[in-house]
């Protein structure tokens, strides 16, 4: 079998192109692929359309770094603190440059990705009726149920060019295990043209095969697997990394001004060579100890014997 293993810089450079539509942060506040996002900033990949339900800090960071042309999301900000200042600056004042916002609700975004994953041009929902969200999203349209005649909201399919998904573990062939609250992760994995998995741990294929019901997406749908221990920091990755609340708070303070944000980027993103250097910086700042798992809690096994 062919290995899909790359370093994170290789994976980003090979499979994320300027102008791409990129799904990230598909598991809501957890498993956010910050390491991959930082690498996008370092490689100065621009003109991106970001897709995600809520986007906790990462979209704001990428917007501030000038990588983004359009955001397709239900919520953009910093969940703990509220506002995302870079998002506000971009929308309100076009700084660093204007962005387009396509509004969704959590459910309509889920339906949009699911439609693409299922090979359908659209899916129906019963949400967003009567809201003004559909005025800001050409992919939402009311229609009538062919059976009942009732008004429904059609959500047109959204197929990202690439989905970047942080997972707990994956094998070199692209088979991944992920657990916790997954949001629209599987929808994104099947909807995207290319999938980049960023794994806290690359494991032997038999680890994945021991539990095939936990597999997120089969290897043949995956373009690249990159190992990045602590790669979801500051977001949590159950069993590997806890949430770094202080980091979100500090980002909120720093990003209040363009200058503060630039200093933040220089310190944590542009100023570090790669994810390994970022992890060393976190260690030097005493942050790793705070997010390390303090008490393991292993699942009771399932038996695939016969």
């Amino acid at each position: 079998m062919e290995t899909k293993l790359y370093t994170l810089p290789e994976a980003i450079s090979l499979f994320v192109r300027p102008g791409d539509t990129v799904a990230m942060g598909t598991a809501l506040e957890s498993l956010i692929p910050f390491a991959a996002g930082h690498e996008i900033v370092r490689q100065e990949i621009g003109d991106l359309t970001l897709v995600g339900p809520i986007s906790d800090m990462l979209f704001d960071l990428l917007i501030g770094a000038g990588c983004v042309r359009r955001v397709v999301a239900a919520w953009v900000g910093n969940v703990m603190m509220g506002t995302g200042y870079n998002f506000r600056r971009a929308v309100e004042r076009g700084a660093p440059h204007p962005i387009e916002v396509v509004e969704h609700t959590n459910l309509t975004l889920q339906a949009a990705l699911k439609a693409a994953a299922q090979g359908l041009p659209f899916l129906p929902t019963r949400t967003a009726l009567g809201s003004t969200i559909l005025e800001r999203n050409p992919g939402l349209k009311t229609f009538r149920c062919p059976f009942t005649g009732q008004t429904l909201m059609a959500v047109s399919a959204l197929a990202p060019d690439v989905a970047i998904l942080h997972v707990q573990r994956a094998d070199a062939l692209g088979n991944a295990h992920v657990w916790g609250n997954l949001g629209v992760t599987q929808e994104a994995a099947f909807a995207a043209e290319r999938v980049i998995l960023v794994a806290d741990e690359v494991v032997a294929p038999w680890v994945i095969s021991s539990d095939p019901n936990r597999t997120l997406v089969p290897g043949f749908r995956v373009a690249a697997v990159a190992e990045a221990r602590w790669g979801s920091h500051p977001s949590p990755c159950q069993g590997y990394t806890n949430r770094d609340d202080g980091f979100y708070r500090a980002y909120h303070g720093a990003s209040r001004t363009r200058e503060g944000f630039e200093a933040w980027l220089d310190r944590y993103v542009r100023g570090v060579e790669d994810h390994g250097a970022y992890v060393r910086l976190l260690r030097d700042e005493g942050r790793l100890a705070g997010v390390a798992v303090r008490e393991h809690a292993y699942t009771v096994a399932a038996d695939y014997g016969f």
């Binding site: 459910l107 889920q110 009726l129 949430r243 809690a297």
Partner: protein, 252 residues
């Protein structure tokens, strides 16, 4: 003479009263989560709380949460559902009650969390998240928010989360059931008039006058003559709230 409490604690207590026993409740973070925990500890021991992110648990997490996806919230959960399954329960009518907040609310309970201000001075807000879905699909909607004149407006700039639109019959015409049942602020509790679907005062919090509420509300709000007083939390209620929010992070 009741124990002193904060405005946040009163709101939590009053929100908890909206939860009926055995109901499936969509719980977000902050005040609604504390309201759910209080209801579970008092009058609604068999209410089931489903976090909007799909986490379902019987017992509160072992440590305080900042987001509903924090690792302590997943450990020991009964189920972690994907968004489709959690939203599917909502869309299929299984969720009797949802809570949301907003930056702006209007006379008919429509909420705006998209952007506020006027054209040359717009403030961009984070957006809907799941709020629109909850407002469209929950059996009843309870709104919890701070009472300020700039937030209580005649007509919201954007309808992020639909209330009763332009009044009676509007939800039906859109294909929506449910709708907001109660608005809880730091000044008063509101319901919606069954005929007009307009938000009207149901009770005033202790010490709040009708004029104060009128002054903070951007439309000529109806206050009944001799408005009832909002029920106050007991010492037991406050003890529960403080057990779950010992730092007062959300309730003060």
């Amino acid at each position: 003479m009741s124990t002193p409490y904060t405005a946040g604690e009163l709101m939590i207590f009053r929100a908890a009263r909206e939860i009926r026993d055995r109901e499936l409740v969509f719980v977000g973070m902050r005040l609604p989560l504390l309201a759910y925990l209080l209801a579970r500890s008092t009058h609604a021991p068999r209410a089931v709380g489903l976090f909007e992110n799909g986490v379902l648990r019987d017992q509160p997490a072992a440590e305080p949460l900042i987001t509903m996806s924090d690792p302590p919230n997943l450990r020991g959960a009964r189920m972690c559902m994907g968004m489709e399954t959690a939203m599917g329960l909502l869309q299929a009518g299984h969720v009797q009650l949802g809570f949301i907040g907003g930056a702006e609310i209007d006379r008919y309970g429509n909420l705006n969390t998209t952007e506020v201000g006027v054209d040359d001075a717009v403030v961009r807000l984070p957006g809907s998240g799941g709020a629109c879905d909850i407002a469209c699909l929950a059996g009843r909607l309870v709104v919890v928010m701070k009472h300020e004149r700039r937030r209580f407006v005649e007509r919201v700039r954007h309808v992020t989360s639909p209330g009763y639109g332009t009044g009676r019959g509007w939800r039906d015409a859109q294909g929506l059931g449910g709708g907001p049942s109660t608005v809880i602020t730091d000044k008063a509790v509101f319901t919606f008039h069954p005929r007009t679907r307009e938000m009207v005062v149901s009770s005033l919090h202790p010490g709040v006058t009708p004029d104060e509420v009128r002054a903070l509300t951007g439309w000529p709000v109806v206050v009944p003559p001799d408005p009832p007083r909002t029920e106050e939390p007991s010492e037991t209620d406050l003890a529960v709230i403080r057990r779950y929010d010992p730092e007062g992070f959300w309730s003060r």
